[in-house]
Symmetry: C2
Subunit: 259 residues, 2 copies
């Protein structure tokens, strides 16, 4: 009782009235900062495993709206670009020895049994999104004890099939980066070549020749030089670039290979 607020109590008791049954959304929120790719995870009260920020779908909202609502709750950001990548559905995917009706009973003070709607077979529609690490203030809530970034190479133990979701999201992101200007969602409006270069290397997890990389992005027209320079603390002032909307749309249509 002490851990859980009214909203959460209400969700447990009346959730099935306001939310769809047997379907939920989960978000793989990638954060990028200083050449590292991280994932935002939360840890429920009372267990040592972590999970993706996810939630139920209101009867009045679309899949995307539901996913965005959940992501906004955890990140404070409301302009995230969410990309659906797969739905997961196997009968026992949300059965976990650590996340039990007993635990929920203890935490909520309510009598939660194994046939409570929350422990039913849920199909999860999954989205991923990218954001600048430093913009986010991870918010726990309800019965979530912690919410924090984890480097993709050092994921903790996770509930359900959430680790597979992260792996699949990363695969999808790496496939998409070849066809869409993914950095558009992630970099500030004006950015330098070393910045976008480091971003691509981090996402793909491999090094890319800096001369060839820049050449390709410029000859395809995806990025354009602004003629301005950034004054950064150390060393030289690099030139600033921006994404070109028109070339971006064109690349999307033509299924161009961008890297």
């Amino acid at each position: 009782m002490e851990y859980i607020d009214d909203g959460e109590i209400n969700l447990l008791i009346n959730g099935h009235l306001h939310f769809l049954k047997n379907v939920s959304v989960d978000n793989v929120i990638f954060g990028y900062h200083e050449k590292e790719l991280k994932v935002l995870l939360q840890r429920p009260q009372g267990i040592v495993k972590w999970q993706l920020p996810g939630g139920y779908i209101k009867r009045t909202e679309t899949l995307n709206e539901a996913a965005l609502r959940v992501a906004t709750e955890r990140t404070g950001l409301d302009k995230l670009f969410l990309q659906q990548f797969r739905s997961f559905g196997t009968p026992h995917r949300t059965f976990d020895a650590d996340f039990t009706p007993e635990l929920m009973t203890k935490l909520s003070g309510l009598q939660i049994s194994a046939d409570h709607w929350m422990f039913d077979y849920f199909v999860s529609v999954c989205f991923y999104t990218l954001t600048e690490f430093s913009l986010v203030i991870p918010n726990g809530s309800f019965y979530m004890e912690e919410c924090q970034w984890w480097p993709i190479g050092e994921l903790p133990q996770m509930t359900f099939d959430h680790r597979e979701m992260v792996e699949e999201a990363l695969k999808a992101l790496r496939l998409h980066i070849y066809h869409y200007p993914v950095g558009y969602e992630l970099l500030p409006e004006k950015f330098t070549r070393p910045e976008i270069h480091a971003l691509y290397e981090t996402i793909l997890g491999k090094s890319l020749d800096s001369r060839n990389f820049g050449k390709k992005l410029i000859t395809t027209g995806i990025i354009k030089e602004l003629g301005e320079q950034k004054s950064i603390g150390a060393h030289r002032s690099p030139k600033l670039y921006k994404f070109d909307k028109e070339a971006y749309d064109n690349a999307l249509k033509e299924m161009m290979v961008l890297v």
Copy 2:
């Protein structure tokens, strides 16, 4: 009453006990035959609109099993390779002026109202599949009056958001064909070069130079010459080829561009 069998009556009355609520699967079944790409659609009793073969998910089966069960019912084939491509979810996506509780009441003889579980908000997880047109015997069933192939360029009026689903499936297929040996699922084990050539031209909806096309598939190792010849009725006996499993897997991993 007269149109509907016991299974269907039972589905209407007890379906919510055996199936997940608020989630369903829909299949875009592409059939290929003689340089034409078609989609398998069915038409319910009493309305003029067509729809995709779809269905509900049993509490004991996975998403894929559900989709395969539905596809098998309509095609008689049980070896289909189903590819999930997107889930659709907006609150009113299955509201259609032509497909009403009144119609279902009339057809079933039961009292079906707007709050019947079947008319609830359903999130649909969509799959596409490819099959050799001539292997399929389209089966109607339950309250489906017709089940037949429609050329992708001449789709009839369709219920709900099913036309969008077909369009999205086709986009996904055309994207996938650049990275996966899609024909693997569609062509017989041994096939000729003109056969695979025509298949790719049909799926992509554009012509491909026959010399360059063959060269690419052979230099990438995706297809291999068998050293056998096919005896076909007219004219020459073309050489037979087969897909190479190893090169196929490699292409998948490397995200190679195959066409």
